[in-house]
């Protein structure tokens, strides 16, 4: 009797042997997440289906990331996700587990039926993760086997973002897994055209750009980070003011802030318009213009203020140059060798100039 009951229970709980038992889903996810709209059954388990619309929470999250608020942990679980109603013939798109990246991809997939294989890049975007190697051959090979992908799709083709190529060796992936790698377009917005044309990317889709808008969205995070370190500068100036004969005031604050904005925002925005190639040079040039302009405006080119004027002309352009130089890390076209060459010349010059200027400013105010 008990045996019989057990059998019945087994039958009712289990489906045919090969896709037996609703156990762990392939990809763990939070059921409260708005971007998960359901689940789809596969021979290997359940896969979350994701929305191709961005909600307010996604937009807010992106905004916070761009402004450097809690951006270090904006990620989703690696694994397999579904868009639409994919089956064993549907294409597999590979991406990173940075939520901003994931959102940028899924919002371009409306009306498509496909799988998204998310690698564990520690919440870093595809290109950077590829540079670090976390969006890499080993992670991809491991993720294919962990998700049981070869039991879910019958074809053997993966679409990787082109910018994943610095980390992934396509021929090595094929050798180890049997999956061939097709590099898709650089930008997610071209994915549909790419899939529709039978995996053909135009030259335009394959080329990285760096438009003014691309540059603009990268500036807040830099600005916020510099503003944070500036609190230290303001703290030091406050202490100096306690026994300075000519205390630092609003004009000094504006001069400094202007140099910061010049280096972190204006230089990146005007990047192609500023003569020269080295970022520090471009930043220095605009920083010099700012300092000259502001010094002139304040009438500091007069006897009695000359120490102050020369001090600022030595400090502030160097500050803008340094901040602009750091934008190389955000840019899409600077090489390691180039940055090293630039830095070997620029860093000592900036340091000397800033040190000399600080001495003059101290002499002037104390």
């Amino acid at each position: 009797m008990s045996n019989k009951l057990k059998m019945i229970n087994d039958n009712s709980c289990c489906c045919p042997a090969d896709n037996c038992c609703r156990t762990e889903p392939i990809t763990p996810y939070d059921k409260n997440e708005q971007w998960v709209t359901g689940e789809i059954d596969t021979p290997k388990g359940y896969v979350p289906v994701v929305s191709t619309n961005l909600h307010f929470k996604d937009t807010l999250g992106a905004w916070k990331v761009r402004w450097g608020l809690g951006r270090m942990n904006y990620k989703i679980s690696p694994g397999l996700y579904a868009v639409g109603k994919p089956d064993h013939t549907s294409p597999v798109l590979v991406s990173a587990n940075f939520k901003l990246t994931f959102d940028a991809l899924r919002k371009e997939l409306s009306g498509l039926d496909c799988w998204i294989l998310i690698l564990d890049t520690k919440g870093i975007n595809v290109w950077c993760a590829a540079g670090k190697g976390t969006f890499g051959t080993d992670e991809l090979v491991g993720r294919i086997s962990k998700t049981g992908l070869s039991g879910i799709v019958s074809h053997r083709k993966l679409v990787l973002p082109q910018l994943g190529a610095p980390g992934v060796s396509a021929y090595e992936v094929t050798r180890q897994t049997g999956f061939s790698v097709v590099y898709g377009p650089v930008r997610a917005k071209d994915i549909k055209a790419f899939l529709d044309s039978g995996f053909k990317a135009t030259e335009e889709m394959r080329t990285v750009k760096f438009t003014m808008w691309d540059r603009l969205v990268l500036t807040p995070v830099e600005l916020v980070s510099v503003a944070r370190s500036s609190l230290v500068v303001f703290g030091v100036l406050f202490l100096l003011n306690l026994f300075a004969t000519k205390p630092f005031g609003l004009a000094d604050f504006i001069a400094y802030s202007g140099a910061v904005v010049t280096g972190t925002v204006i230089t990146p925005l005007l990047l192609p318009l500023i003569p020269g190639r080295a970022f520090s040079w471009k930043g220095w040039l605009l920083g010099l213009l700012w300092t000259l302009g502001f010094t002139w405006f304040n009438g500091w080119f007069a006897p009695g203020f000359l120490l102050l004027a020369i001090g600022y002309l030595l400090v502030l352009p160097s500050l803008s140059a340094y901040l602009a130089m750091n934008f190389t890390g955000s840019s899409t076209y600077t090489s390691f060798s180039g940055v090293i060459k630039e830095m070997k010349i620029a860093v000592p010059l900036m340091a000397l100039s800033a040190a000399a200027g600080i001495v003059l400013l101290l002499i002037n105010s104390l």
């Binding site: 919440g123 990268l218 890390g329």
Partner: protein, 97 residues
């Protein structure tokens, strides 16, 4: 209004005799440095190279070498200060680094 970085710095090298003409390098290069001519890759414009290493990583014949690294001053400074390899550990929000 093209954005171009320093000239004559890229460490990119191509051994044409090893090249099998598979076109992978031309496919993955984000700055279209390579072209394929008579079933052989050739470097079209080396100064456009940002040393991301995608071509070398994906060349099945090992015909390409490049000293790949991050073109990021902050990473280089941290590397100098800590004596480690410069790496992109700063921020996940940036497009690169």
């Amino acid at each position: 209004m093209k954005l171009r970085y320093l000239k004559n710095v890229s460490t990119l090298r191509l051994s044409i005799e090893k090249c099998s003409g598979c076109r992978r390098c031309a496919e993955v290069c984000p700055h279209r440095v390579f072209s394929i001519n008579e079933k052989k890759a050739q470097i079209e414009d080396k100064d456009r190279c940002m040393e991301c290493g995608a071509c070398a990583k994906n060349c099945p014949e090992n015909a390409i070498t490049v000293n790949a690294g991050v073109g990021c001053a902050a990473a280089v400074i941290i590397g100098w200060l800590t004596g480690s390899e410069p790496s992109c550990d700063c921020s996940s929000a940036k497009e690169c680094c």
